[in-house]
Amino acid sequence: MSQEREVSREMQNAFVDGQLDAADWTALVERMGNDEALRRQVCELRTLKDMVKSAYASARPHGTAPAADRRGWARVAGLALVFALAGWLTHDATERIGAAAALRGVAANGLVVHVASSRGEVVNTALEEVEDYLRDARTAGRKVRVEIVANQTGLDILRADKSTYSKRLERLRAMYPNLTYIACHQTADRLREKGVKVTLLPGVHFAPTALDEIVKRMQQGWVYIRA
């Protein structure tokens, strides 16, 4: 590092972030000994860094599960396999048949379907697949349970004042008592904080958060599907 050249801002940043190698670090420290302006600039950078850190020190997740629930995460030692289906993909009939066949081969006692969007294609696909799955299971004489867990904008499908799927959900629930609808309490709280009155469809249950409900079911060996 040349004594004559101005120390770049990048170099000053790297210094306060501990990103310089030993030689550059030493050279910059020596330079600061004789350069008051540089000392002041580095000091400002350090101050800024501390200010940013302090500004977010109190930021905590809302609706974090109570400690007892969170400990549950660590209690899942007995969980040998968790099955995850990472997404609903295309509506192609062949794929759907393939998926149904794949699900029949899974020795799970439950299916948790996560709906985090109110977009029509997401919700329609989710409901179609759930209905197919429940019908197939009934035909095959398999006892299964299915939960639709809704959060974010997906909560809209379970809201009495917003849902355009209420009749369809009611019909499904009447046909399949082993189907349950779960709303994310955290999402509902957020809406209420914004002054939105949240009224759920009849028979919809709350879970503290969608994540907690999904993890709880995965611990129990259920299959998780993200819609």
Binding site: V52, Y56, A74, G87, A99
Partner: protein
């Protein structure tokens, strides 16, 4: 619907992911300054992390790996809900959130507001470095950008913050001194 894969997740891995909930939230909040969205992004990140556990080759990099997932979740959110924020251009300020308004320290509120004014790319770099102490190389991996980009974004971010905050901070200090 298609089955993408089966995976086993150990209790230990879940516990390690859970430990990252608060740091992830802090980062998410510093990127979007929306408490509800931050909660959703963190949930989404943790679910994706559990779902992709097998992809994490180096367990020591769990935190950075989750931060990369968080960055992608935010990108996905902007892509699906609104035009993507430019990564490196000046952005208009977002409205201050109720949470920000209730922050006891006026300085902290001001810092958050100024961070919020930064373009997303600069905001992400400065918070990854300052809040979570990632190295420049790690930030480059998390955001999938070259290290030179990390350094230039950081430089621009800090310069903007310096111009906007140092005077304010000095005034606050003077106030404290006069009260004492």
């Amino acid at each position: 619907m298609r089955m993408r894969g089966l995976f086993g997740v150990s209790a230990q891995f879940r516990a390690r992911v859970e430990v990252q909930r608060e740091p992830l939230y802090r980062l998410a909040y510093s990127w979007c300054h929306d408490a509800a969205l931050s909660d959703d992004l963190v949930q989404e990140t943790m679910l994706r992390g559990l779902g992709r556990a097998a992809q994490l080759r180096d367990q020591a990099k769990l935190k950075g790996w989750l931060c990369a997932i968080l960055a992608n979740c935010l990108k996905d959110h902007y892509r699906s809900s609104a035009p993507l924020e430019p990564l490196d251009d000046e952005m208009p300020s977002h409205a201050e959130t109720p949470e920000a308004a209730s922050v006891s320290s006026q300085l902290a509120a001001r810092v958050r507001a100024e961070i919020d004014r930064l373009p997303l790319g600069q905001r992400q770099v400065v918070t990854l470095v300052d809040l979570e102490g990632f190295s420049y190389a790690e930030v480059g991996e998390i955001l999938a950008v070259p290290i030179g980009t990390v350094m230039s974004r950081l430089c621009r971010a800090r310069e903007a913050l310096r111009q906007r905050l140092m005077e304010f901070a000095a005034a606050q200090n003077n106030k404290i001194r006069s009260i004492r």
